[in-house]
Symmetry: C2
Subunit: 175 residues, 2 copies
């Protein structure tokens, strides 16, 4: 391994899009230490061995104070030629979460702002990132036509040889 | 980092389901060094910095001699409590590929058998793994009702701050 690779480089970056289906709003933050104030979904790095959904729920809570539950996997990003990236450090996953609480108590060290924003507004604003904008459009489609069209759902299965369990994310087999 | 973590532990495991839409067949292999002879999709580990689709296409060619092109991402697996796994070593991605050649010339060091198998047969046989069986059922649905129902397609986008490009995989925005 290169000497400059730190343990944290191997974490998976997870973001959680917490969608309130009752009013079409989604939880978004603006990072404190960025030059451009773009809305994005809250998130952070997984701990070793932590499940995708568990990371997203934990990071959203730590950053915003909102409790939620995992619903599905929506998107995966792979960075090309990321400066300093090594092997797996360049994966980045966005999940759909369902809110269990609504009051915001955001981390002022990480965030400048945190709001429940209309999905329709997030889908059309310039004050966001290309990936957030696309996922907002996808979530709008989910609101209108059902999340069954956009979700990768989780199934837990035993491995054939070892007997340990794994999580498989794929489109629902019944559609 | 733990001392027993080798560089190869950080590779992403990619498998390619090469589907021939003209006859409903898919390319499958049986590993040479397994006690149970289960059909599975060919694949292997990504090189550092290598794209998901490029790894799948390369590994399928090296293992089976069949040339193909990347079409979509189908499924992601996360292993829970994998013995010896550390952080990112436990991700495993299945892609859908389209064949560009059909003659099999398989690697006899890696594989015991390699065949074009009916997807319908792979979906119902016991001589496969749970994940392969599920993906076969998903691919059958794609053959019958269009792959637009099951695919995560790739979009290449510039990063906001750095200007480098990344690959985003998500459900098609037009459905």
């Amino acid at each position: 391994l290169p000497e400059d690779v730190s343990e944290s480089s191997f974490g998976r970056l997870l973001q959680g899009a917490v969608v309130d289906e009752s009013n079409g709003k989604v939880l978004v933050v603006q990072d404190r230490n960025k030059t451009k104030n773009a809305w994005k979904f809250p998130g952070g790095l997984s701990d070793p061995g932590e499940n995708i959904g568990a990371t997203a729920v934990r990071e959203v809570f730590e950053e915003t104070g909102v409790r939620s539950e995992f619903k599905s996997l929506l998107s995966i990003r792979q960075q090309h030629d990321h400066p300093g990236a090594f092997a797996m450090s360049d994966m980045y996953i966005i999940c759909r979460l369902r809110p269990l609480s609504y009051d915001i108590d955001f981390c002022t060290q990480e965030c400048l702002r945190c709001e429940w924003l209309e999905l329709a507004e997030l889908a059309r604003t310039d004050r966001t990132t290309p990936i957030t904008s696309r996922v907002a459009r996808l979530l709008l489609r989910g609101l209108e036509r059902g999340f069954g069209e956009i979700d990768l759902v989780m199934e837990e299965l035993p491995a054939v040889y070892s007997g340990v369990f794994y999580q498989l994310y794929l489109r629902p087999l019944k559609g």
